[in-house]
Symmetry: C2
Subunit: 194 residues, 2 copies
DNA sequence: GGTTAAAGCTATTGACAATAGCCGAAAGGG
DNA sequence: CCCTTTCGGCTATTGTCAATAGCTTTAACC
């Protein structure tokens, strides 16, 4: 029996491909092993557990998404950068549903690599919002709002929750435009103390 | 062996409670049966499958959420109603994480009860946005944006993704305030044709 | 070429959903 | 009030998972 030449990266890579095809929740070691031409227990020479495999997919996905966002924002600023980044985000999530889902898994406390790559991806967003001269908590609020807005839309779209006939592309354009409008008045939107 | 007096509703009710405690993905029939004082196979006298149980939780959750939203909006209109509904939404989701997750499951095609209760919950949102005199696709875009905004925030908050020190309540207030600002200029935010 | 670590394998376990088939409890009609 | 019938429990079992134990073979290095 010749060796299959697997590595931890190779296994995670194929796992991501399989997950995007069948869904992250339907990723099984038996199925993955078959794709890799190997028996199921053999995978444990390369992974610690299926949880650790999902973590590897997550780290890889965060890295990819961060790069996609950075590439979309390069050479642009302000509303232009936000719009470009938003569309790159939605596009990537749509083409890689399971990777996208995995990219939203929180790092385990103490997992430095995962924490680093997560922070790096978020930093791209932070940098783009900097053009609006937001600082401190104002900036944090804006980043949280931006991420929430994109995430909610992408999740609902992936779930097929936008069933009506209205054009989903147009809805997304308006969502982004609306967020940019809100951002332009961000300092005037501080709600009354409650 | 005296009868436990179970019904399909009673099982779904307890399942929702258990799911909120341990997570929807960790809901098991063994655990549920133990809570109900019954052996695991006995549950099949009341449910068809664990998928159908999740569907029952989903229907129940959609009904509850719809009622919560309707109650929050009653006697209010415009920005006031949107704000009240938003806070009721986040509050309910925070107190019932698994029910909330279940409430976002899509109805199976042809499941009339599920489709009805889903539509009813969304209708509450539609009614509130009506105050902004949005019609047709404009209204659909606004509803999609509103749902996306709330959902994204609630999901990230539940996942613990807002780890920084900044006050999450304040971030949510500003998110809602920002959406209301965007809504006020909704007709001016039609993006250029791309 | 011999040693050894790594990478594959079979066999097995334990958790889980699900099915089959039995048996006692409760409900209703004569 | 008993007899029948239905229905809600039960035990036993299966198939699919992830995961572990322990063996064998490959290939890398001296």
């Amino acid at each position: 029996m010749p060796r299959a030449g697997l590595t931890r990266d190779r296994v995670a890579q194929e796992a991501a491909v399989m997950a995007d095809e069948v869904g992250l929740g339907r990723l099984t070691l038996a199925g993955l092993a078959e794709r890799l031409g190997v028996r199921q227990p053999s995978l444990y020479k390369h992974i610690d557990s299926i949880a650790s495999l999902r973590r590897d997919i997550s780290v890889q996905a965060k890295r990819e998404l961060g790069e996609v966002l950075a590439r979309a924002a390069v050479g642009r600023s302000g509303a232009d950068a936000i719009s470009a980044m938003s569309h790159a985000y939605r596009d990537w999530a749509g083409r890689h549903p399971a990777r996208y889902e995995a990219s939203n898994l929180m790092p385990a406390p103490g997992d430095v690599e995962d924490e680093t790559v997560s922070a790096t991806a978020i930093q791209v967003i932070t940098d783009v919002l900097t053009a609006y001269r937001l600082e401190g908590d104002d900036a944090i609020d804006a980043i949280r709002a931006f991420r929430s807005t994109l995430h909610g839309f992408v999740v609902y779209e992936a779930a097929g929750a936008f069933a009506l006939s209205a054009d989903v592309d147009r809805s997304f354009d308006r969502l982004v435009a609306g967020f940019i409008v809100a951002l332009g008045q961000w300092n005037e939107t501080v709600p009354p103390v409650r």
